[in-house]
């Protein structure tokens, strides 16, 4: 039996001495996308930063695919990636941005093909690879940022408000790319969003959060397929 993607136990995160996240128990399944919903300040982004190993929890434990994570964060960041709420593009070309993570992993072969493949997945033509970061619109920047995560084919892909400030068309392209990454490569998407109609496109499985706590976790599995 596949272990859960994450097992969260008594996880506490604080910011400037104030507790912002307190989760007693949460298992996130590895067999499909999960959405995290809740108002602003409900702790979604903090939880995602902890799950992406960007934030060290104050206490509690976290396992990833059955393995303890403490002390192995740097290595585990190779299996998990996250699209930030306000993504940042490196001051380089689109190609350099998308290829960055592959090169950081020491990969040298087939980079051009993989970059072209994910650019196509996010609805961008191959000639976008030569554009500079400042030549892109807001929606294109977000899709390039997504492509730079998808190309890594990590086990988990955390998306923090992926459709914030993008139009419907860009939102649709992002949803399609995320679903394709799951279906093609088994990249498990975890999505935090307020955009409920958009979330319906991706998954029915919901975790509801409020004031840094899990208030309800639905485990429906009739997503995508």
């Amino acid at each position: 039996m596949t272990p859960p993607l994450y097992e969260v136990r008594d996880l506490v995160c604080s910011y400037q001495g104030k507790k912002v996240l307190g989760i007693e128990r949460l298992d996130i399944a590895a067999d499909g996308p999960t959405a995290f919903v809740g108002h602003n300040g409900s702790g979604k982004s903090t939880l995602f930063r902890a799950l992406a190993f960007l934030l060290k929890p104050e206490s509690g434990s976290l396992t990833f695919l059955g393995r303890p994570t403490e002390g192995h964060e740097e290595l585990l960041r190779r299996d998990v990636t996250m699209l930030l709420q306000d993504p940042y593009l490196l001051r380089r070309s689109v190609f350099e941005n998308v290829a960055y993570g592959l090169r950081a992993r020491g990969e040298r072969r087939g980079i051009e093909d993989r970059v072209a493949e994910v650019l196509e997945m996010v609805g961008l033509s191959a000639d976008f690879a030569g554009r500079e970061w400042y030549q892109l619109s807001g929606g294109e920047s977000r899709r390039v940022s997504l492509a730079s995560r998808l190309v890594l084919r990590t086990k988990a892909l955390l998306l923090d408000e992926p459709t914030a400030n993008v139009d419907e068309e860009n939102g649709f392209l992002i949803a399609e790319a995320v679903k394709n990454a799951w279906l093609r490569w088994g990249v498990v998407p975890l999505v935090a969003s307020h955009d409920l109609p958009w979330l319906d496109e991706v998954t029915d499985r919901r975790v509801h959060m409020k004031r840094g706590r899990i208030v309800e976790a639905e485990v429906e599995t009739d997503f995508l397929l």
Binding site: R49, A52, F53, L54, E74, R77, R78, T81, M82, L83, L84, D86, P87, Y88, L90, R91, R92, Y100, G101, A104, R105, Y134, S148, R149, L152
Partner: protein, 255 residues
């Protein structure tokens, strides 16, 4: 002699003043034309000063960048006890007067100084020591600021893409590259335009340590405006070239 004859007439004064102004304009334009002619006739004295300036600024900038960029990067990137105080000291050194640097270095490298045996006084390397001290705070401070001012999302972005320690470091340096180049160009502008250090440590020796700025000072003192103007035009050309590069980089960075 009557009083009317002794008193200068107002009309005569105006004529004399106008005549002086015409002469002065002629003198300046003549100096300017002679200056241009000196440049294009490849006057050896003029080009010797240009050569000394380029060798001196090249040497001092090479040392400054070699020391300043890594240290400035660490100053902006790392947290350590006393970092705040160090930043204040570096920033204070930005406005250090050139003659003070000249005086201090002179005391060290003159024959009676602790480094007198190195025979650096009145040599290009000796002048480069002084110019490096002038330029170093600029490169340190502006490089540290460039790193501090990189986007707050950069670190998280690099981590989510799988960068490790050295990857984080080099990628941050690369993100700040335009600002670091601005720092280098600003420092270069400072060293090519300064007089105090070059005069005190170089001694303004013809064919050896006479730079553009010290030559202009000397030629103007002698009343040789044409040579001064020729050198001034070349210095302005340097300055315009630098400012053009700076403004291009600023525009590119702001895009």
């Amino acid at each position: 002699m009557s009083n009317d004859e002794q008193r200068p007439s107002p009309g005569g004064n105006r004529v004399r003043r106008a005549s002086r102004e015409v002469n002065a304009l002629g003198y300046l334009s003549e100096g300017f034309l002679q200056g241009i002619s000196l440049i294009f006739s490849m006057n050896e004295e003029v080009w010797s000063a240009v050569s000394a300036t380029l060798r001196l600024s090249g040497l001092s900038m090479a040392v400054t960048l070699l020391i300043g960029v890594p240290l400035g990067f660490l100053l902006g990137y790392c947290s350590f006890p006393g970092r705040g105080v160090l930043r204040v000291v570096v920033d204070a050194l930005l406005s250090i007067p050139t003659v003070v640097v000249g005086l201090l270095v002179y005391a060290f490298i003159s024959n009676r100084g602790p480094l007198g045996s190195w025979q650096l006084l009145f040599t290009i390397p000796g002048m480069a020591v002084g110019q490096t001290i002038l330029a170093l705070p600029i490169v340190l401070s502006l490089t540290a600021s460039a790193v501090e001012n990189t986007d707050h999302r950069l670190r998280s972005t690099l981590l989510t893409l799988g960068a490790r320690r050295w990857g984080l470091l080099f990628s941050t340096l690369r993100e700040a590259r335009h600002q670091i180049l601005l720092a280098a160009l600003t420092a270069y502008g400072r060293v090519t335009a300064e007089v105090g250090v070059s005069m005190m440590l170089g001694g303004n020796i013809k064919w050896h340590t006479r730079t553009i700025t010290t030559a202009i000072t000397l030629e103007t003192g002698k009343g040789e405006f044409s040579a001064g103007i020729a050198l001034g035009i070349l210095l302005l050309a340097f300055s315009l070239l630098l400012n053009g590069a700076l403004s291009f980089l600023r525009r590119r960075d702001a895009a």
